[in-house]
């Protein structure tokens, strides 16, 4: 599996896709154009996602302003150990993701790229496992809004409604991220050299970073509220 010189030289050619291949520019320039376009596209998509989660956070803000005391009570019921562990897992995965993105653009860093991508996926999966354990505990403690909800104060159900919804939406986003990274690893495994200078790596890692960021906002909202002081 050598990433030999002949493979590397053809990088722009192999990664150029329509319509960028018809710009009638030198291949190198067309390719850097394509990379800029792809990165720009994912940034626009992330802007869109920010509005999506922005609306979700607005919902939280409005509900919490209205029911501050109940929200504090409810937030104390979440499991801060699992929450903090997950934050650590996800932040570490972000480090590996960023490294993978940088490494994919360097010559001779194939093993590093692959290794970092694998670490990213494993940490992401670990996050999901921890989340699953936490969900199981929540269900056992009757923290699912409904008839036999554990807490008395009325708006605590609102908090847990938001808890289940936001963590589920985040988990769906993370699963998509895991899928993207697994696809990259699989492609590289099938066709060595695929990752080298491929804009897809940076695009996937930007998305991964965004999902990280969302968790960093969710963590204090769900776990730290009501625990201060």
């Amino acid at each position: 599996m050598s990433t030999g010189g002949d493979v590397l030289d053809k990088t722009p050619e192999r990664h150029l896709r329509e319509p960028w291949d018809e710009l009638r520019l030198p291949e190198g320039r067309a390719f850097s154009y394509q990379r800029a376009g792809a990165t720009f596209g994912i940034w626009v998509f992330i802007a869109s996602e920010v509005l999506f989660f922005g609306a979700l956070f607005l919902l939280y803000t409005a509900m919490r302003l209205e029911h501050a005391a109940d929200f504090a009570v409810a937030a104390r019921e979440t499991n801060i150990v699992y929450g903090t562990l997950n934050t650590a897992l996800l932040l570490t995965s972000g480090l590996f993701a960023a490294t993978a993105s940088q490494a994919s653009e360097q010559e001779g860093c194939r093993r590093l790229t692959l290794g970092c991508l694998t670490a990213t996926v494993l940490l992401g999966l670990a996050f999901m496992v921890v989340k699953g354990l936490e969900y199981r505990e929540d269900i056992e403690r009757h923290l699912v809004p409904g008839a036999d909800f554990a807490l008395k104060a009325p708006a605590t159900q609102l908090f847990f409604g938001f808890y289940w919804l936001s963590t589920a939406i985040h988990a769906i986003h993370l699963s998509i991220g895991i899928g993207l990274v697994v696809r990259l690893i699989w492609k590289e495994w099938r066709a060595p050299g695929f990752l080298f200078e491929n804009p897809q790596v940076e695009v996937a890692m930007l998305y991964w970073g965004f999902v990280d960021m969302i968790w960093i906002v969710l963590y204090p909202m769900l776990y730290l509220g009501g625990r201060g002081g």
Partner: protein, 563 residues
């Protein structure tokens, strides 16, 4: 499909250059798979055109039944529940599966790369995926209809939609949610395309206004749609998983839903009208043979509408009991957003001055647009005034107002564009006499349908009423008769345009002597869009009214020097 046996090697006009071109995009494969798996923006535009036409007639059929029911004050054609499902179906299908995708996904898809001299959109595969998402959303919504319908109205107001409705709300909401991905993908694609794939010389202030309108529309696509998506997720979660979110019985706030919903749905109105403004700018300049009046003001007006449009949502909620100060702020912003719209109307009018005006059917639609948009915009001022809005909110006055904007203006513009670019898209000419007749009939039918609704609304007839007090009958009879005329007018283009696909005369490359880059290639264009490398040397709308009538000399495409 669509009888596309045209081959561009025989040019209709021997005077035009035969550049030894490859076959047109229509001739680039005839199998079903060559259409369903295409990444050609032009073919995807055709796919969209077929799907939105399908949804337009579904929504139209529902509207026909609604108008039929309202012919008499009693309920006699359908039952109350069926009526509620019909107007909900009409609203949902027309808003999300016709109006929002209409101009952007058909003309935008087809023309955006052509107008800026690109080979395709920036992400062709994403473009195809977004058509599939749109279809999936549409079919989910139709599945909800077949399963038994949905009766919440297109606004899905809680707690009716989450707790009280016994209909298939989740399925329909899921359909709209899925179509939202399609919208966002299209927006991302257009924005990246305009940023990165403009031909050499095509600077930002040389972009045709249609491209600017697509760009600003895409901004709204990308920034407003996710808020709707989240709101719909919340409705689904509350209905399906019984999570407490908006349910007032469990501490939720139904007004919050309205804020989130209108934060999307008011900009969505501009999604429907901005592309129409783009089309009209292209059509009016071509048939007036004049440069657009105040190009830079037109651009700033588009951007201003898109931006200010994000901050006016509250005027949909004056009666739901918001703070009077908030109401006044929203009222003020709603007046302000009308200013750029007014500028556009004045500039279009001024563009006609000292022109060389021809009255081909696209121009008839465009002039109709001017009148109807002015009416719709000015009645918007009534609704922006809080005391009047309190009176006419949720009455037929509002119904008439937004139909003037969304049907009168947007659909007129859609037909103007459809006729204007039909020769480019299909390579065939349509029968001009029929087209003019349809345009006039549509204008007449539209006004007969919706003008009486202003009066009925001002007199106090609420919307979404299955039965109504008998004193409103005269206005409803007028309106329903107008709807019959309008239905006939909408069916006519379906007939003669289809006819033209098979029997229409072959189109010239530039039948209208228009100036845009899209006319500097064959009709229909080849898969690669252009021969040679388009280069832009001048600002858009290079028309010369002083030239000898009846038209300018034919423009002949020369490689390397276009527009």
């Amino acid at each position: 499909m669509s009888g596309a046996s045209s081959d561009a090697s025989t040019l209709a006009n021997p005077r035009e250059l035969d550049l030894g071109l490859p076959v047109s995009y229509l001739g680039d494969g005839y199998s079903v798979a060559s259409w369903l798996f295409t990444t050609d923006h032009k073919r995807i535009a055709i796919l969209y055109a077929l799907s939105i036409t399908f949804f337009f007639f579904i929504g139209g059929a529902a509207a026909t039944l609604v108008r039929l029911e309202l012919f008499t004050p009693q309920g006699d054609v359908v039952g109350a529940d069926t009526y509620n499902k019909l107007f909900s179906l009409h609203g949902i299908v027309m808003v999300w599966f016709f109006l929002i995708p209409s101009i952007p996904t058909t003309m935008g898809n087809f023309l955006l790369p052509l107008m800026i001299g690109a080979r395709d959109l920036a992400f062709p595969k994403l473009n195809l995926i977004s058509w599939y998402l749109n279809m999936a959303g549409g079919l989910l919504t139709l599945a909800a209809v077949l399963a038994g319908g949905i009766d919440t109205g297109w606004t899905f107001y809680v707690p009716y939609s989450t707790v009280f409705s016994n209909t298939f709300v989740t399925l329909a909401v899921l359909g709209v949610f899925v179509s939202g991905f399609s919208t966002i993908a299209t927006g991302v694609n257009f924005i990246a395309t305009v940023h990165f794939l403009r031909a050499p010389g095509m600077t930002w202030f040389r972009l045709p206004l249609f491209v600017w309108s697509m760009y600003t529309t895409s901004l709204i696509f990308v920034l407003a749609t996710p808020v709707l998506a989240l709101t719909l997720v919340l409705v689904i979660a509350e209905r399906t998983f019984n999570l407490p979110i908006f349910d007032p019985a469990r501490g939720g706030d139904p007004i919050l839903f309205q804020h989130l919903f209108w934060f999307y749905s008011h900009p969505a109105v501009y999604i429907m009208i901005l592309p129409a403004m783009g089309v009209i700018s292209e059509v009016i300049t071509c048939y007036a043979r004049r440069r657009i009046f105040g190009y830079s003001f037109m651009v700033y007006a588009l951007v201003a509408i898109a931006v200010i449009g994000f901050f006016t949502w509250g005027h949909h909620m004056f009666t739901s009991g918001m703070s009077p100060f908030a109401a006044l702020v929203f009222s003020f912003l709603s007046f302000i957003v009308a200013v750029p719209s007014a500028i556009k109307v004045f500039n279009w009018t001024a563009t006609l001055y000292r022109g060389q005006i021809g009255f081909e059917s696209p121009m008839l639609y465009a002039l109709g647009f001017l009148g109807l948009f002015t009416m719709g915009g000015l009645t918007g001022l009534f609704l922006a005034s809080v005391p009047i809005d309190v009176h006419v909110q949720d009455t037929y006055f509002v119904v008439a107002h937004f139909h003037y904007i969304m049907v009168g203006a947007s659909v007129s513009a859609y037909f103007a564009g459809l006729h204007f670019w039909w020769p480019k898209v299909t390579g065939r000419m349509y029968p001009e006499g029929w087209a003019r007749f349809a345009a006039l009939l549509m204008f007449f039918g539209f006004n007969l349908t919706f003008f009486p609704q202003f009066i009925a609304g001002y007199l106090g007839m609420p919307r979404r009423y299955y039965t109504y007090p008998p004193e409103f009958q005269v206005w409803n009879v007028l309106s329903s008769s107008g709807a019959a005329v309008l239905a006939a007018a909408y069916l006519m283009p379906l007939g003669y345009l289809t006819w033209s696909l098979f029997y229409g005369a072959r189109a010239l490359n530039d039948p209208w002597n228009a100036s845009g880059l899209e006319w500097r290639t064959t009709s229909p264009p080849p898969r690669q869009n252009f021969f040679g490398n388009p280069q832009v040397l001048a600002p858009p709308y290079d028309y010369h009214p002083e030239a000898t009538p009846p038209g300018d000399e034919s423009r002949i495409a020369e490689e390397g020097a276009l527009t």
